[in-house]
């Protein structure tokens, strides 16, 4: 029993499969009887049974086609169009109570055709001056030609023709010197009344009032029915005719709130129209142009764009509203998919929203009549010839409409055509992928396969210049088509391919690399792949210099010109190089902290086997370092203090300059693990005053497999972790002399492309400046922390003084293991976060928890990402 039946008021309306027509008034009717009391004739309308008025563009088009073919256009003011199946736009033309012709668009020739039916002849024939093919009647043979192919001699152009055969007339199609005759009839000329649409409205006013009354009643009923659980009521407004009608109905029912989701792919006319309607405009949420580079164009059977551009922004918006009843303009007749929708429907992807469809049983005919009757302004795109108002490059749009767009909005089609052509080239598809609109399907349906077969089109591998392909920098076309961004950080998102269709909040584990870093590495592989320091040939020379230059860039970036900058595999290797290179032993004392990642604990713990004592300083209740405890721990045996600059769990910033001063006072070596600081803060190792500074290249937009160890000038040289090729100045039977620069510590063939990529990452970061990066991330982090703290059941582990904090945020959700939360966010919201102990087990043990969920931001993160995470957690908590 559906919702309406439960009410026991009336039956659900039936789908109208016919159009009633008053022959007396010569107008279409909403119901069976005209207000002139005449019973209407019934015109069958094929599936999906949708009919709409022919608007200005349609009328002008049919007029032109009729004049071109028949030299005349005796068309009525009132024409209706009924959608029927075809390869593209195909509609039955209804006029004077008859189905007179079929209007169709051919996606191959890009032309419209008008094929007349015999029902048109009574009013067309008296005025036609051409397009008539006479077939000589053989009175003796009395042959029937209806349905047959007859050879003719004629100068008429190919296409739909009027056939004259004796005293009978018919219609047919002329091609290659033959006419395929449809049928022949005896034609009696008829003249018809030619009313305007105003008369249609006035003669159907009674039924329009009924429709309006019923819709408003349905709205009021459901508002009352769901008032307790869904106190918020709004209208989902798209700018189209259906939601225009629904907005009017809803406002008459007392609804005041409405919203519009801007997908970022709207017609400018739509945005202009929506802005005048007094609705809330929800800004775009996803970056379509980046996503399309990754996912390819969307298709009717692969509508990934809806999730990115509609669903996620809608979810974020609904989080601010709470549970609501949303009134929308969905109708049965729009498509096969929507036929039979109930008055209320629940979208499982949006549990907050119950959808109400009060005009589900209206045809476009009734919608326009209502709009005209109430004199409601509607989108100008309809009169321009667009039947569907939505994203302008929606795969569901017709090629006929897209062809129209090439005239009305050429810049927009040029942009999309460029994208499609690139995709076709990438996949080795023929031009038909774009020119016939084949991109609209992932798997071509039968009708399109037939078309391809008929035209001799198939997907062929094009001959390409391989070198030309690979020398092109990856995603360079994205830069040309990425829309204007409001800040440099917004614009930067286009440089990160992975962000096109998901939210990445795990940068503390490893960051993403921008296209310029990837391009630098690819250039190495393609143009000068050679070993460093080993050859005289030019490839080796270039590789050596670029690799060296990357060291120089890193040194300058951290203020470390007065020191040695060594490239390592990662931060762990950098710290281990110090731990094993210092010759620490029995009786030596090392101090570290509870904040440390295992990579800054285990290398020291390993030394306990040699009799080194390792002391761990605790944190305060504010997740900051207990400096007093650190100070008290220093003894005459303390050889080294090793601390992280920023905690990878809590985001706390440790006071490294103060610790350095303490170290100088006690003549203690000082190592700083900058893995979580260098990517997010300005760092100057001279200002810090440390002896060793270690960090990860891959967390600062560099490639994986890169890290850095910086050693202050004047620090006694370390024993290298490994020695081998490239580390010696001299080697003989007597002994060897190690080099004194970074090469001393980089034995063997290093990660050359990684090092060069790291240099490119530095160049990228310098474009923004680390002060700006810090400021950007701080705004986002503060918003995230504050947003999470407002959710009941969520505990955030961060210093309350947010100036002592960076963009790493750990939290737990009551009742959920951190892995469950991370999995939920991944599956339900495409958000990537880390969960667990984060290689910081002692800290977790200290807090008495098994782990946390950790969200970590970077310069490419956005407020939209933050809002999505907050919305996701709220949804999770609500689901308990």
């Amino acid at each position: 029993m559906n919702d309406t039946q439960k009410r026991g008021i009336k039956q659900e309306p039936q789908i109208k499969k016919v159009l009633y027509w008053c022959e007396e008034c010569n107008i279409p009717l909403i119901a069976k009887t005209c207000s002139c009391k005449t019973q209407g004739i019934s015109i069958p309308i094929p599936e999906p049974h949708e009919i709409r008025p022919a608007l200005a563009f349609d009328h002008a088009l049919i007029t032109r086609l009729c004049e071109e073919r028949f030299g005349t256009s005796p068309l009525a003011h009132i024409i209706l169009l009924a959608k029927i199946g075809g390869v593209d736009r195909t509609e039955a033309v209804i006029m004077n109570g008859r189905r007179c012709a079929i209007l169709a668009f051919d996606p191959v020739s890009r032309e419209y055709t008008l094929s007349i039916n015999v029902e048109a002849l009574p009013f067309l024939l008296p005025h036609a001056t051409r397009g008539i093919v006479t077939i000589q009647k053989d009175h003796e043979k009395k042959r029937r030609i209806g349905g047959k192919k007859v050879e003719v001699q004629t100068n008429e152009p190919e296409g739909s023709v009027i056939v004259k055969y004796g005293n009978q007339y018919g219609t047919g199609v002329l091609r290659d010197g033959y006419v395929r005759v449809h049928e022949l009839v005896t034609v009696q000329p008829i003249s018809f009344k030619n009313p305007h649409w105003e008369e249609v409205i006035s003669k159907n006013t009674f039924h329009l009032k009924n429709l309006e009354r019923q819709a408003i009643r349905d709205i009021k009923y459901h508002i009352k029915q769901h008032a307790k659980n869904r106190p918020a009521v709004n209208v989902s407004f798209s700018g189209g005719k259906d939601s225009t009608a629904v907005l009017e109905l809803a406002r008459k029912a007392g609804v005041t709130s409405a919203f519009f989701i801007d997908t970022g792919l709207e017609f400018p006319e739509t945005l202009e129209f929506v802005a005048k309607q007094g609705v809330t405009m929800v800004p775009p949420g996803g970056d379509f142009w980046s996503a399309v580079q990754k996912a390819g164009p969307p298709a009717k059977d692969n509508r990934w764009c809806c999730k990115l551009l509609k669903l996620f922004p809608l979810k974020r918006y609904l989080e601010t509203i709470g549970p609501c009843l949303t009134i929308q303009g969905n109708r049965w007749y729009e498509s096969w998919n929507r036929s039979g929708i109930d008055i209320t429907t629940q979208n499982p992807a949006n549990p907050l929203q119950l959808n109400l469809s009060p005009i589900r049983h209206w045809r476009a005919f009734e919608v326009f009549l209502y709009i005209w009757w109430q004199e409601i302004p509607y989108s100008s795109l309809y009169d321009m010839g667009f039947e569907r108002i939505g994203c302008y490059l929606c795969p569901a749009m017709l090629e006929a409409e897209y062809e129209l767009m090439r005239v009305t909005h050429p810049k927009m089609t040029e942009r999309w055509d460029t994208c499609l052509l690139e995709e076709a080239e990438k996949r080795g598809y023929s031009d038909a992928y774009v020119s016939y609109g084949l991109w609209r399907w992932k798997e071509l349906p039968a009708k399109m396969k037939e078309l391809c077969e008929r035209e001799g089109v198939s997907k062929m591998q094009k001959v390409t210049d391989v070198k030309q392909q690979i020398s092109r920098a990856p995603m360079e076309s994205v830069k040309q088509i990425t829309p204007l961004a409001s800040s440099p950080f917004d614009a930067a998102r286009g440089d990160f391919f992975l962000l096109s269709d998901l939210i990445y909040l795990d940068s503390a584990s490893t960051s993403l690399s921008p296209e310029s870093v990837i391009a630098a590495m690819i250039e190495y592989e393609h143009f000068y792949r050679a070993n460093v320091g080993r050859g005289v040939h030019r490839l080796s020379q270039i590789a050596t210099q670029r690799y060296w230059h990357a060291h120089e860039k890193v040194a300058q970036f951290i203020g470390g010109k007065k020191g040695t900058t060594v490239f390592t595999k990662n931060c762990t290797e950098a710290i281990t190089t110090v731990a094993r290179g210092l010759n620490l032993g029995q009786g030596d004392h090392i101090i570290t902290t509870l904040f440390e990642h295992h990579s800054n604990l285990l290398p020291w713990k390993e030394l306990e086997k040699k009799g080194v004592k390792v002391e761990i300083i605790p944190m305060t209740s504010e997740f900051l370092l207990d400096m007093d405890a650190l100070s008290r721990a220093c003894t005459k045996d303390t050889k080294l203090i090793s601390v992280c600059h920023v905690s990878n769990v809590f985001g706390s910033i440790l006071p490294v300059e103060k610790i350095a001063a303490l170290c100088r006072e006690h003549n203690i070596l000082f190592l700083v693990d900058g893995a979580q600081s260098v990517p997010h803060l300005p760092v100057d190792v001279q200002q810090i005053g440390c002896d060793f500074f270690c960090f990860s290249g891959h967390k600062m937009l560099g490639p994986t497999g890169t890290g850095v160890l910086w050693i202050r000038e004047g620090t006694p040289p370390l024993n290298p972790l490994m020695i081998g090729g490239g580390t010696v100045e001299h080697l003989s039977h007597e002994g060897y002399t190690l080099l004194s620069n970074y090469e001393r510590y980089e034995a063997g063939t290093p990660n050359i492309s990684g090092g060069i990529g790291l240099g490119a990452a530095i160049d990228y970061l310098k474009r923004f400046g680390m002060e700006a990066v810090r400021a950007h991330e701080q705004i986002l982090s503060n918003a995230l922390i504050n947003g999470l703290k407002e959710i009941q059941g969520v505990t955030v582990y961060a210093p309350s003084d947010l100036t002592q904090h960076t963009s790493v945020i750990s939290f737990t959700v009551d009742g959920y293991h951190p892995h469950e939360v991370a999995q939920y966010l991944d599956e339900q919201a495409d958000i990537m976060v880390r969960s667990g102990h984060h290689c910081c087990m002692p800290a977790m043990e200290y807090l008495g928890i098994s782990g946390t969920v950790r969200a970590s931001l970077h310069l490419y993160s956005s407020m939209s990402d933050v809002q999505a995470l907050i919305a996701g957690i709220k949804e999770l908590v609500r689901g308990q």
């Binding site: 143009f527 040939h537 030019r538 080796s540 020379q541 270039i542 210099q545 670029r546 230059h549 120089e552």
Partner: protein, 231 residues
């Protein structure tokens, strides 16, 4: 300095000379014998005057390792080889094409006192870059050409407007020096020695002012057009 004679000790006047081997984008470019202290300026000046780079931004990195200098341009896989004949170091593959020389359009002028001071203060085999306010850079080298190139390199690195500068030399002005001045659009070169005839001819055509024989009392202007001297 010898305290008795109050003259510079001859041993102190000995100039160091060492080879500098230059690689550009991995390939060998030249080896020159120069005074060792201004390698970066010499190499940069050489690349600029040989039209291998047109701005400082073209240099991605310059690495000095002992007597080796290696330069990478921002697009190391595209090298333009446009060279002209020199009498100085290492460019015997070039040719002199007057059609490609640009005339001097600068209207800068220099006081006689400046010109006099710029030349007379030079030690042997040296070059200096001056503007109307004074000396910007001076260096001594193995040859005049190397010294001039080094001065140009300095000016290039420090983004100096050459059209407002003059080049002072303590050796003979030949076409190689004229070519450098024309390329950098330096309106005036001055020297203590007499120039070559070809140098005068080309300078005259291109509006470059050559002043030679500069001493305490006098100087000779060898070109008629665009005399960049004021009282």
């Amino acid at each position: 300095m010898n305290k008795e004679t109050k003259r510079a000790d001859p041993i102190d006047l000995i100039l160091e000379e060492e080879p500098v081997s230059v690689r550009l984008n991995g390939s060998y470019l030249l080896t020159a014998m120069i005074a060792p202290h201004n390698k970066e300026e010499f190499v940069t000046g050489y690349l600029f005057t040989e039209e291998l780079i047109s701005s400082l931004a073209d240099i991605e990195s310059l690495r000095i390792e002992g007597s080796n200098v290696s330069v990478l341009t921002t697009n190391p896989f595209k090298i333009s080889k446009r060279r002209m004949v020199l009498s100085g170091c290492g460019s015997s593959s070039s040719f002199l094409d007057e059609k490609r020389l640009q005339p001097i359009l600068s209207s800068s002028q220099f006081q006689k006192t400046i010109i006099h001071k710029s030349v007379c203060s030079l030690p042997p085999i040296s070059a200096a870059l001056w503007n109307s306010e004074g000396c910007l850079f001076q260096c001594s080298d193995i040859g005049i050409h190397s010294a001039a190139v080094t001065c140009i390199g300095y000016g290039f690195i420090h983004n100096i407007d050459f059209s407002s500068c003059m080049l002072a030399l303590s050796g003979r002005i030949a076409t190689d020096i004229v070519k450098i001045a024309l390329f950098c659009k330096i309106p005036l070169i001055a020297s203590s020695s007499v120039p070559t005839r070809l140098a005068i001819t080309i300078a005259e055509k291109m509006g470059l002012c050559i002043i030679c024989g500069v001493n305490a009392d006098d100087m000779t202007i060898y070109t008629d057009k665009n005399i960049a001297v004021c009282s």
